[in-house]
Each structure stands twice: as C-alpha cells, then as structure tokens.
Symmetry: D2
Subunit: 309 residues, 4 copies
C-alpha cells in the first residue's frame, strides 16, 4: 500500500441542519469529534451524503468555515464543489482554499448529459484554475455522465492537479480497472464509494473508502479497512457481516438516496449526534418508520441517546 495523502476512511460528512438552510453548528461539532475519535483519515464535505447540491451557496460557505475551525488541522478536509455552473464551482473552490481546506471534489456537471470530450476539456480547465488539488467524483446514477476509463487516463496524464478519483458507480470491474490505470501515475488515489464494497475494494488493492455509515459508526469502517489492508480474511468476513446487516437495516429496504439520507440522519439524531432535519427537496421519514429504525438500531447494538437531538 503506497503512502497517499487521502487514503483510508474518509466519511462523506452529513450536513447537520437546525432549520431549512440553517446550520446546526452544535451538531456539527459533536459529529466531527465523533468521527475523528473513530479514527477516520479525512473528511469529505458537501458530497451527496452532505446534500451539497440542495444547499444555498451561503450555507455551503458557512459549513466549510465552521468545519475547518472545528477540525483545526487534525485531518485533511475535502470539499465537494460540483455544480451545473462552472462559475459557481470555481467560486466555491476558491472559498474552500481560503478557508483552509486541503482538496476539492468534482463530479461532471449534472444537468446536461455530456460527451467525454467536453467532460475532459471541462475538468482540465477547472483543474488548471483550481487553487486546490482536485479529486474526481464518479457517480453516474446522479450525474448521468460517467468518467470513462479513457477519460481518466487522459486526465492522469494531462491534468497534474487531478490527484485521484472516488468511484461511486458500484461497478467492481470499473474500480479494478481504475486501480490498473492508477499505476500510470504514482500517488494517484482510488477510493471506493459504496460502503458495502469497501472490503472487496481494499482486498483488491484500493486505497480506501468514502463510507456514509462512518458518520455513525466510524470505528466499524476503520477496523474493516485495517483488516482488509493486512489480509485478515476471517476478520474481514466478520466485520463485513456487520456492515451488510447495518446497511440493510439503516437504509430500510431500498438504496434510494432518500432512503439512505433519511435513515442516516435519523439514526444520527437517535444517537445524540445531530438533528435529523434534511435539506429540501428531501423530507423527514414518517414517525412509524422512525420507530422501526430505532428498534433496528437497538437490535444492531448501536448506543442511542436518551432523547433524539
């Protein structure tokens, strides 16, 4: 395993909200301390799990400022700057740099389906202008356009400020082909998105994972990462059973992003970490589903707070 700046478990941090378009700063503090205590090796703000695209520009900037203040350099901070407007993406990248973040994360613009030629040109120009290193974000279920292997190869060779890729496609073949490609530039990082694929990804040589569940159970994912890096298959199988049980219960019968986000934020609230409120256009789960989720969490051995936050 090479020594990379962004390897290991880097949770896509949930954005705690006190009200529509208003940060829950106290929740953010508790959440950050919780994941750092669990051994994570970085924080990814304003990703899909962070509901970045749903937030106003004002709240995005405030979140980055508060997070850098709270973290105080204890772990690198990556900031999602994907937008459909390149001007807005670049403005956020500049703010992230000023506020002390270490890198930005960029997906294809997600309104227009794009040609790969346009995509490579767009990303190259963005990377040249970005004051921070750029991690690619491959998530075709949300952005329509995927980074083809050939496009990643071009960016590896021609865009030195592009330093890695987070792959949330869920396609293990593509992920392994990225690992082969990464050998063409020392230090290029390949991270797995879906937490259920962290174990096979790291066993096959992947550099880490951006696990949403690590907001709630950071040590489960950092332990699993260690077991996979060291090739302890028995421990990998034991922890992976927990990961699969946890994710099937937490996300409750469906991997729709809504199910994922409402389940995770509600669980964080039950655990006393931050408020459950989602950013519109998504809305809170029903009371009956909340009760079922609380029971699931108890069954899984998650420690709940006396009262939800």
């Amino acid at each position: 395993m090479p020594n990379l700046p962004f390897q290991g478990i880097i949770p896509p941090l949930v954005t705690p909200l006190a009200d529509q378009d208003l940060l829950d700063v106290a929740g953010l503090e508790r959440l950050i301390e919780h994941v750092l205590a669990g051994g994570v090796q970085g924080l990814f703000l304003l990703g899909t799990t962070g509901e970045g695209p749903s937030l106003s520009h004002k709240v995005k900037r405030e979140l980055v400022g508060q997070a850098t203040r709270i973290v105080r350099g204890r772990a690198p901070i990556l900031v999602g700057v994907s937008d459909t407007s390149p001007a807005e993406s670049l403005a956020l990248a500049r703010d992230a740099c000023e506020l002390g973040a270490e890198a930005v994360v960029l997906s294809p613009p997600y309104y227009f389906p794009m040609s790969q030629a346009d995509l490579v040109r767009y990303v190259s120009e963005f990377a040249e202008q970005s004051p921070l290193p750029v991690m690619l974000y491959n998530l075709p279920s949300h952005t329509k356009t995927a980074f083809t292997l050939e496009s990643v190869r071009q960016l590896i060779h021609e865009a030195p400020n592009v330093v890695g890729i987070k792959d949330s496609s869920g396609q293990m073949l593509y992920f392994q082909q990225l690992l082969v490609l990464a050998q063409e530039r020392p230090g290029f990082t390949v991270l797995m998105g879906p937490e259920e694929l962290l174990a096979p990804a790291v066993l096959m040589g992947g550099h880490g994972g951006v696990c949403g569940g690590a907001n709630l159970l950071p040590a489960l994912y950092t332990d699993l990462y260690e077991a996979a890096v060291t090739g302890d298959l028995r421990e990998v199988h034991r922890l992976q059973q927990q990961v699969l049980r946890f994710s099937s219960k937490l996300y409750d019968g469906g991997h729709s992003p809504t199910g994922y986000l409402t389940g995770l934020k509600t669980a964080l609230s039950f655990a006393g970490l931050c408020k459950a409120r989602l950013a519109e256009p998504l809305f809170q789960m029903s009371t009956s589903r909340q009760a079922r989720l609380a029971q699931h969490l108890r069954d899984l051995g998650v420690e709940l707070a006396p009262h939800p936050v």
Copy 2:
C-alpha cells in the same frame, strides 16, 4: 381551443453569450425582435435550450432584466428557475417577479432521484411562496424524476398557483393523458416540448409548443400551429416534412442535448442573429461540422448572413 394565457408557440430562448459568463446583449436584442416578428406568443428564458443550469446566478438575473427591457410587454415572459437548491430557485423567482416576468417554470430538482411524495410536497410549498404563477417542466431525461400523472392530478387540485405543464418527455401517451387531466381544472395549460411532436400534439388537443427551432425559424412553427389548430391536415403534412428535415439536419445525427444546442447556436450565428458561443461545460462544434451545417442550412433554404456573428 380555450383561451389560455400561455398558448401557441413559446420558444425556449437561446442565451446569447459574448464570453464565458458574459451576455451578448446585442445578439439578445436581434434574437428577440426576430422571434416576435415571427409571431410567437411568449418567451421562455433559462430553460434547457437557454442553458439556464450552466449560467451563474449573476448572469441569469441580468438576462431576465435585459429581456424584459427589450420585450416591453409585447409578449409574456416565462423564466426557468429550476435549481437543485430550493433557496436559489425561490430567490430567482422573486427576482423574476420584480423584473417584470409573467410566470416561472419549475422542474424537479435534478440531483437527487426523488419520490413522488417528496416532489409534490416540494412543488406545493414552492408554488405557495412563488410571487408568480408556476408552470411545471417535465423532462426526465435531464431531471431523472418525472411528474407522474397522479402527482400532476394532486397539484391541479391542491396547488392553485400551478397553472400548466410543459412536457418534454417525448411520450405522446403521457401527453394525451395530461390533456385528459387538464379538463379537471379550466385554464390548465399543456404544452409540448419536442418540436417534432408539436403537430400531433395540437391535432390531439394540445395548447401549444415550446419549440427550440423557433429561435431560428419562428414562422415555420407558428404556421404549423395554426394549421393544426384549424385541422388543415394537408398543410400540417407539408410543414411537418420541413420540421423533420430541418431538425434532422440542424441537430446533425443525434439528439444529444449537446448536438441540439451546438447546432442551434451555430445556425443562429450563421443567420446573423447572435454569437455561437456555448456556456461551459459545453463547447463549440468542430470547424468541419460547422461547414457541413452551413451547407445543410443553405440546402434547407435558410437565409444566411454574409458573415457569422
């Protein structure tokens, strides 16, 4: 045919650009005078053809201001306000109202795939807060989430500020089912998106079309609309042959949004109306394709300017 505020041909206006994130104001003036002279019954700004999602908030507001100034009340102006962030959508709706627009157009937020329950709630709350009437925009190829018939029915009955729907799904069955639904509220408008389906849509009772090609050839579409409203099938067939030939040549071998937009903007430039520049992340077509397009336009009898703008 009922008398509706937004019926007939309402072109989705191209946004002329002089440079990245800089309006081509002179081009905008020529373009607006051109389409008004062609008999269009409204203008739709900042839609997909207007590259709304690619523009910065600053340029969006400037475009609405310039367009209302140029139009001076000669036709109603509809403003696309779709965004992934509800706060940004609402801010733009308020600006559009202040600047003198007549309505806003709203698609589902296009990052997260959404449940219909969340979608209806989101649109209802938006419509309540919007200072202008809201036209729905159904475009699942770009927004992932479609408005189901049941959701449109709910909004027809429970959201009085929702006044119609523009359907760009390309599905004639769905479009006809919308027409049946529209009978449940007098005055609810149903417009066809794809220009190649304008004729069958109006023959079956549809109220008009948002035809991208009407930027270049407004009279072709207003004539076709009239022929269909009056049931002149022979004239419909004659004009429809032109529409199909035009769209197959202009968009040159592919209905990718990129092909559509680059073809249309380049043609507008050849016709002396406005600059061909696209908003990033899309880029200009190749010189060889430009030459082929110029030849196509001449073959189709489109009058070209001595020099592109």
Copy 3:
C-alpha cells in the same frame, strides 16, 4: 392514403388457451368471428399479445392451422415468427406459408443485444429465405435491440421481401421518421403498435394500427381509424377519449405486459369470447382484481356475458 396490402386495423390476436399448452379452439372461433364482424382488415397471430414466445412449437403450428381454417380468406393473416434461434424462425415461416398465411412478422432475436450490422445481415438473409413477405416488428422494450432508421433504410433498399414495419416503440418522432423513409419505396407499410397512439399516427399519415384492444372492441378502433383518415378531428377526439379511458381501466394501473395481457384476456372471458387462461410463465390475475375489472367494464358500457367463458 395509398392502397396497401396490410393497412387499417389489424388486431394482434389473443391466443385462447384451454389449458397449459392446449388451444381453446371454440374460443378462437368466437374471437375471430367477433373481430371480423368489427371490420378489422387483417389478423396478426403469435405476436406479443398472442403470447407467441411462451408457446411450444407444436401449439404455434396448430394455432396457425386453426386460424386459417376459420378465416377462410376473409382477411389476410400475418404470423409472428420471431425466435432467438433463426432455424426455428424459418421453420415456422415455412409452416405458415404451407398453412395459408399471407405474411410473417419478424422482430430482432431477443436474447443477445445485437449490433445493427448483424441485425441487418440477419434480417436480409431471413427475408431471402422466407417464402412469405416479411413485416418488421420494432419493440425494443421486449427485444432490447431496436431497428435504427438507418437499418430500416438499408432494408427498404436492399431487401425487397421486407414489406413494412410495425412500430411498438411508442416513440412518435421515430414513427414519423419511418413515414418519411417509407416514401423511398412505394407500398412500404408503417403500422402503429400502441393503440393509444393510433389516432395521432394516422392523422400524421400512418397506415394503420395493431391494436390489442381491438380483440374486445374492434369497431371502436376501426371507427377511430376512419375518422382519422378522413380528418374528422371532432370525432377523433370523441373516440380517443374512449380509447384512453378504456386502456387505463382495462390495463388497470400499469402498462406492464402482464397487466396488459391479464386484463385483456380476463375481459375477453367476461365478454363470453374465450377463456382467460394465460400461457405460463404468466399467471391469472387475482380474484379481487377480476371483480374490479368487471366493474370497470360495466362502467365503460362493455356488454358482458351472463357467465365468463
């Protein structure tokens, strides 16, 4: 409207079954007399609605034999011969010819996704060997591979035994482009698949429709076809309301093929025409849904038999 061998309403005949893999011959006789009395201009056996792919080779041949015996030349018979094995398709085409059918209908083989080059070559070779004229069948929802316009153009020019196409894609743009293509060979027939699109298709110049609902209500579709051919828009709108109401009720909340087939066969049984039994792997609808369907049919004014067949 040109005079074509296969124009007008050609129902995709349901295959009445007395038991798994056993024909309901009495039902078949009643059904054929019913649709002929309703003025249909041909019969299409062993299509999707006829559950062709689910039947054994033995039953397919028996059906063709019985149908030609019953029809006695009163209308042309088209036989679906699509299969994943070309040898089996050709064997059925030869049997259909011997048994007295007028044409065969061929879709792309539906197991492997295919390249267009392979598809054109396969269809050309098939058409050369087929003893009967070949109608193409475009149904990408079931066959994966669609006929592109370019492939249809090649077949129009190079495969004289290919005499037309039935388009069940539901894409009105594609259908209109087929009509333009058809002008390149006099006599080439273009039929619409989905019955809800019959009216716009014929208004735009289409030659007829393969309407599943015409098994039950043949006169509704032959009347609608006449109204559209003669350009009587008021009558088209009146009948189309019935078609849309009928199809939304009959197929009961879903255009899944299962919903379509179970609804149609059950309705035919209620109308006293033939047994409701489906060919496996599809199964009968639930008793509660049957009761709801019977009520729908009464509401729509369909005359029901005292007892289901």
Copy 4:
C-alpha cells in the same frame, strides 16, 4: 469453504460449430479435453457463452449427448435450459437427465418482463417437475427480469430442488447479499459470472465462478480461484492483472456479448481448439479485427496453433 457439488471453476462451454446449426464435434472433443486438463470442476453447456438461445432444439440435444459421451463422468455437467416457452425448457431438462447431465441452469424467461410473484411461481413449478437439480441464472442484461433477494429467499426456503445461483449481474453488493442468504440453507451454492469479479467474489466467500475465459486459459482461473480461497493476496493481485489484461484485449473495446463471443471463439480457433464460427444471428468479426486479436494473444503469451482451426 463448505464442500459443495458445484464449486470452483465451471466454464460456460463455447458451442463449436462447423456450419450454421451443425456441431463441430472434433472441436468439442479438443475443447473439453483442454478445459479438463486445466483443472476445471464442472462444465456448463448452453449458457450465454454457449449461445444456447440461438441454437435449434435439435442441435441443443445433440450437444448434450456428445458432451456427456466425451466427459465420461470426469466432471459434472450443467445444462442451460432457459427458454421463453416453459414447455420447451422442461422438455430439454428431461432430455438432459436422460443423457446423463447432473443439473440444469434456469434463467427467467426472457421475452416478457415479469413480476417477481410470477417468476417465483414459475421457477417453483419448474423445479418441482425437473428431474435434475436446478441452478438459478441471474443475468438481467439479457433476461430483463432479475431475481430479487426476496425471491431467492423464497426459493431457498420453498423449492428444495433449487440448489444454487449463478449471478452474472456484475453487482458485488447483490452477490454479497446472496452469500448472506445462502447461510439460510446449507449447501446452497453462489457462483460469480463475470470472470473479472471472480477474485473479489471468492475473497468475500463466494463458491466459484463461471468464467468464459476458462475455455481458453482454464489454468489461469483455477489458479486464481485457489489463491483466493487460501487468502494469498499477493498471488491474487498478480493473477488478477493477467485476467484484466486478458479480458480487455480479448474482448477488444467493448463488453457487448457480441464482442465477447466473437473474441473468444476466434481466439479458440487461433489456439487450434475449435472453429470460430458463431451461431446466427451473430456473425464473425472482420479480418482486420482478427489480425489485431492474433497480435494481442501473442503479446499476452497465449500459444497459437500454426493455423486456425
């Protein structure tokens, strides 16, 4: 690792053809001896790689007969019996039993999209009537309908003659969830389809793989399987590099089934094992692509025969 009847590497055997619908029996003998010598633990006939759906019933039966004759009990034979007609599937299962095969492999019928309720009922009834144990085949890219986890659970509990599943969805999350499910019935086998996912599948506890490439290079896959079972990560990484390089070259720019099959059959011909001819509706690759493939094979160190078979 439990001791299962069908674990390890079970190649989906290519069907060698001398002409359209005519077996290449000499090629079949060489191919079977080649894979047995490479240590495979079973043979799967008439799968996707075996072009089962393209062959006539006559040739299918002949292939099973010849293969059982050649193998003489040295390895278990599984026979793909998937068809759109249940009567034809069952007839082939009975023939396979008489001819001495050990199991049949069944996918969902692949013409109609199906509900899960119909699918479970269909498979249960089939399994009851099948004289041989049934392995499920999940391949939604070709069959449209996938086996949901809930359906597999029902079959595990209620259909004792269903003994395992081959998953060719390419979804590692689903595959791992199958492994969790399999714990609910001792002896239930879970095999990986795509050969590029064999290594992560076995590292996570999977029971083997149905690797198309094992027709050509059986020892590569049996060695990789052994390395993964014993947890030798260094050897897994080394062999996996070969698998990925091999599959990217052999299938040459595209994982379309056509690309896969033409590449594999042509390579087998170059290696002197069997004829390259494909079953229609697929056709041979171009001569220029053949030359490129020969060069790729030499670069990969594959031993070629003096002349293609």
